[in-house]
Amino acid sequence: MITSFNDLLPLMPLLIVTATSVIAMLMIGIRRSYITTGSITITGLLAATLVAVSMMDWTNQQVTPLLIIDQYSLLFTVVVCASAMVLAVLSFPYFFELDDQREEYFLLLTVATIGAIVMVSSNHFVSTVLGLETLSMSLYGMIAYPLHSAKSAKFPLEAAVKYLVLSAAASGFILFGMALIYAQTGTLSFASVTELPAAGLGDSYTIIALLMVVSGMAFKLSLAPFHMWTPDVYEGAPLPATAYLATIGKAAMFVVLLRFVQISEALSFDSMVTVLTLIAAASMLAGNLLALLQDNLKRILAYSSIAHMGYLLLALVAGHHVTGTIAVEAITFYLIAYVIMSLGAFGVASVISSSEKEFDSIKEYRGLFWRNPLLATTFIAMLLSLAGIPLTIGFIGKFYIFLSGIEAGLWVLLGVLVLGSGIGLYYYLRIIYRMFMPEKHSQPYRVGGVESVSSYGVLAILLFLLLLFGVYPAPIMSIVATASAYI
């Protein structure tokens, strides 16, 4: 129960983001100004990030039964808010020339962030559903945002409808599964499904319930066989929205899945382990295979995200076998790494694109290295990181995943991981190779105006983090290790 102001303190980041959205909304009401709205959003998200960072050392409490504010959720609050801020910065030039109302986009972005913060702090079905739906609902809007624009080249409508219908169906599965679990455990909080307060309805029942929840979440994480929506939605959505979906959407969902699986002890059923193993293997293979000869950058990143979620699931499965927190650390670190490198990759594409012309065919990146070496270097670093090459954070992430897999003795999954990564190298290199080909001067990249300066700055920061954590990961490792102890 919230009885005093002090009880609200742990919710500060959430409150700040909420306030940001309210203020932004009011400002729009008063006077439409793209710059003002954008600035308010960015400032608000920055503030929330900083506050969350400052809270990490001393905050560890359950705020109402719905939200747990501990180091782990705060860590991801930081990740979510910072990413949202980065995306806000990147969105700003992207929508700069949109021939429609531009300001509400930031509103959607902040509201989605609220949902994400709720999700990462959630250990209760109600908050999960609330956060998830807040996030999803805002994402529908973000995906469909350039709908009215006459010049919009892509298919935001198609993407939005597909995402809405399929996501709603997946939510249905999650809800139904939750209901079944609730019938079994008698509480809406995450709770063990093995130690029941009353006579249960049988293991099969529990497994069905768990699988429905897991399937629904797997959909949101675009794990095979629920991955098919991913490329279409990624392709149709405007780049910043895609990036949001790919980074914050995935990370928040994975945190929920992690907490849920850990607390509910779902993996104490052998068949659950088998099923998750299969999902992980299928995702790694399907994702990498699908991306193999793909020419559309957004679709490649979509497929590769399928594979990356498969890698994460490997660590999740490993978490059941190992003592200690190495698997959780692996998941945590890899999520952070994944967010950074995805933001970077989408960010590069976003910087040279606008709502009117997106550069999402890899052919269009031909010769980028010779025309804009810094941007191309950033992109290459991000792609190499996604491929797990040393010097980048992606390698440390892979290192963690491997280590957890080895500790758990998941040799088959590791084999699939190696195979999948091997295939993965091919399509990442295809993009990189394109950038090194002699340039063709016919490509009209967007020339960054003043509005893009901050985007470049953000990209530079991402590159710096990518390399810093890749070369000297000790500090972030200790943060991750501390936070992971709370799961």
Partner: protein, 102 residues
């Protein structure tokens, strides 16, 4: 009063859910698809109420209320998109939304 066994309630919810799912899979008219989604989500709501009755909690029922609002919001966004779709394609057949593939 003899209570209905919880299994019966859950099975009913399950059947409803399956009906909704089948609707989503089979209907081409996007309005019907949305309606089927509503059925799925509401089936979950029913399941919550059944479960709540097992534990004699109010939690499940609160959850149901939340689900109702969720469904409403979902439909609102959905309908908005349908209007856009109709404007652009002059049809509500979801098969037209298949320009992105591969």
């Amino acid at each position: 009063m003899e209570s209905i066994p919880i299994e019966h309630g859950l099975i009913l919810a399950g059947i409803l859910f399956a009906l909704g799912l089948v609707g989503v899979l089979t209907r081409r008219n996007i309005v019907f698809v949305l309606m089927s989604l509503e059925i799925m989500i509401n089936a979950s709501g029913l399941a919550f109420i059944v479960a709540a009755s097992r534990w004699e909690h109010a939690d499940g029922q609160i959850m149901f209320l939340m689900i109702l609002t969720l469904a409403a919001a979902e439909v609102a966004v959905g309908l908005g998109l349908i209007i856009q779709m109709y404007r652009r394609y002059h049809t509500v057949d979801i098969n037209v939304l298949s320009q992105m593939k591969g």
